[in-house]
């Protein structure tokens, strides 16, 4: 039986008067690439931010790696934060540090590895995400959009997390780069045994690498499952998203 890594149960979120999530349930299983899908303002980014402890839900529960997020002690929270890596939409690399220093920061803060070993690891991570070796000495402002995403992924992978959160990893990349990025994420999942949760709009990504996903809309979960399972659901939002029926683009 494949154990679940993240369980969201009866989640309600609201910002002031605006209700964002109305009783949301979803489950992410170990070693799968799971996507949160939905239109703008459907609350998919908020859901992800709640999973990584950046926002708090109104009620309901989120379990991540067996911890209930609403009853975490500060120590458990710190430990949990070290067991995942997050790739933000705009990269969020520290602009005053070089790419190498951005990655080294985590090793210096959280491990007692020797400087030589840290250096080796930085080189490995930069190589792993497909950046050229000299990227280590570049500042984020000197990188292109695709390179920023890769550098941010290298930083997210620094501590060998078992759980990887990606916020629109392929947005703003050209089709070839986004295909390469998808392939990279799939390879990492296969070889490092990662569980990947991503927020995405990219239908190509969903076709290519996503195992299961949740489609959010109208404050609720419209459908959850594999692509085939979701396509079986008869709902206007599913039609809209996958360009069927009234919204159809003939294939």
């Amino acid at each position: 039986m494949n154990p679940s890594i993240i369980e969201v149960r009866n989640l309600i979120t609201s910002f002031g008067e605006t209700l964002i999530h109305d009783h949301i349930n979803c489950t992410v299983k170990k070693n799968e690439i799971y996507a949160l899908l939905g239109g703008s303002g459907s609350g998919k980014s908020t859901l992800m931010r709640e999973m990584i402890l950046l926002e708090r839900p109104e009620s309901g529960s989120i379990h991540v790696l067996g911890h209930d997020l609403s009853t975490l002690t500060p120590l458990e929270a710190a430990e949990l934060r070290r067991s995942w890596g997050v790739l933000f939409q705009s990269g969020a690399l520290y602009s005053s540090l070089t790419v190498g220093e951005n990655i080294a920061l985590l090793y210096n803060e959280y491990t007692d590895l020797s400087p030589k070993l840290i250096d080796e690891l930085i080189r490995l991570k930069i190589d792993l995400v497909g950046l050229p070796p000299h990227a280590k000495y570049l500042y984020p402002s000197q990188l292109s959009g695709g390179m920023v995403k890769r550098a941010a992924l290298a930083r997210a992978l620094a501590l060998d997390p078992k759980l990887l959160f990606l916020d629109e990893p392929t947005s703003g990349l050209d089709p070839l780069s986004s295909r390469q990025f998808d392939a990279l994420i799939q390879q990492l999942r296969d070889l490092l045994g990662l569980t990947v949760i991503m927020v995405t709009h990219d239908l190509d990504t969903i076709h290519r690498i996503v195992d299961r996903f949740t489609l959010l809309g109208e404050k609720k979960v419209i459908a959850e499952g594999t692509l085939d399972e979701v396509l079986r659901v008869d709902h206007p939002i599913v039609d809209y998203f996958f360009q069927r029926g009234a919204y159809g683009i003939t294939r």
């Binding site: 491990t111 000495y137 060998d160």
Partner: protein, 372 residues
């Protein structure tokens, strides 16, 4: 969470070779012990890594092994591995798929080089500032010929922000300057029994020099830094590019309203600082030297010639011009990283205060030569 057995190794010497038995979890938090052991290990001619007992390994473990292995091989040992698990060799192949390329860190330039570079940058910096001024003035002339392009509303908003809202801080600063000058003078003048001259002292020094200067410094710190940060942020968020594409010229929309507003406001602020500063002096004169307010004002009418007051006020627009132009110029220099906003805001305040003081010195020399 289940407990993890930290990484450990056993070194077994077998005649001409050593076997390194690795066990436990070679993962990121559990490596410190073995790192030291491997550091201390001197290679023999033949080394066998035994990974049979390894429970877990991650990229840091693989990197540690590779690093040590490379050191051994450089020192002439022959290394082999036995007993590696399948997923572990997958990880190794993922991490070390490409040959290792050494990249040299970009060398830091020598002192002489940096000195030259900085000098060159400062000199060309003056050039770009003059170009900035030139462009601004071309647009000023154009705008004056088309007066409907003048942004009256923006000028008004900046007058409110840089003028009216600055009154409290200027009041406090000027009052305290008045108090300080009065205190220092009272002590000295009392020695000669010339207490009454405190009025001349305060009246002339404040209106002619101190009030304009202190006002300019407060305005540079308060509004100059705000100008740089506002324009810098707009540049980072590409708002300035958007303005340009819509045909809104940044000079008419951003620079001139600020410059004109500050040039209007500054003399008024200096007048206000004069009044509050003299009042501060009066308070001290009354308490320390028993000089009543009436006597003070009466004496002031004789002592303070109109020219001193006017010279102070006239400096206002000049100071305002320098502050506003330097700070907007610095705002346009902000580049696409968060640190540069802070950098250029600092530069803008430092430069404008320096220029204000330099300009004040120039005024002093000029006016002395003119016998004013």
């Amino acid at each position: 969470m289940q407990s993890v057995v930290p990484a450990s190794l056993t070194i077994i010497s077998e005649s001409s070779q050593i076997r390194i038995e690795c066990s436990g979890a070679w993962t990121i938090g559990y490596l410190s012990h073995v790192t030291d052991e491997l550091e201390a290990l001197l290679p023999l001619s033949k080394i066998i890594w035994d990974f049979t007992a390894l429970s877990d390994i991650d990229s840091s473990g693989v990197a540690l092994w590779q690093l040590t292995n490379r050191r051994f091989e450089q020192q002439g040992s022959i290394c082999t591995t036995i007993g590696e698990h399948k997923e572990h060799s997958h990880l190794y192949r993922l991490l070390y798929s490409k040959p290792i390329q050494e990249v040299l860190s970009p060398h830091s330039p020598s002192f002489v080089y940096r000195l030259g570079e900085e000098t060159y940058r400062s000199v060309t910096g003056i050039g770009t500032f003059l170009a900035f001024l030139g462009e601004a003035f071309i647009l000023l002339i154009y705008t004056l010929r088309h007066p409907h392009l003048i942004r009256y509303r923006a000028i008004g908003a900046h007058i409110l922000e840089t003028g009216a809202n600055a009154l409290p801080i200027i009041a406090i600063s000027a009052f305290l300057i008045g108090v300080v000058v009065a205190y220092q003078s009272v002590v000295q003048l009392q020695k000669f029994g010339a207490d009454i001259f405190i009025v001349d002292m305060i009246g002339i020094s404040l209106t002619r020099e101190l009030a304009p200067l202190i006002t300019a410094i407060v305005v540079a710190g308060r509004s100059g830094s705000a100008f740089t940060a506002q324009i810098g942020t707009m540049k980072m968020t590409q708002e300035i590019d958007a303005m340009k594409t819509m045909g809104f010229d940044p000079f008419t929309f951003l620079v001139w309203p600020r410059v004109i507003a500050l040039m209007i406001v500054m003399p008024l602020l200096i007048f206000f600082a004069d009044m509050v500063g003299i009042f501060g002096g009066m308070v001290i004169a009354a308490t320390q030297s028993h000089l009543s307010f009436t006597e003070f004002v009466h004496r002031l009418q004789g002592a303070l010639a109109l020219k001193h007051y006017l010279i102070g006020i006239i400096k206002g627009p000049f100071f305002a011009f320098l502050i506003a132009f330097v700070s907007t110029y610095r705002g346009f220099q902000v580049s696409m990283n968060t640190e540069s906003i802070g950098q250029y805001t600092t530069k803008s305040v430092v430069n404008s205060i320096f220029l204000v003081i330099a300009c004040d010195a120039l005024f002093s020399i000029l006016l002395t030569e003119l016998k004013l």
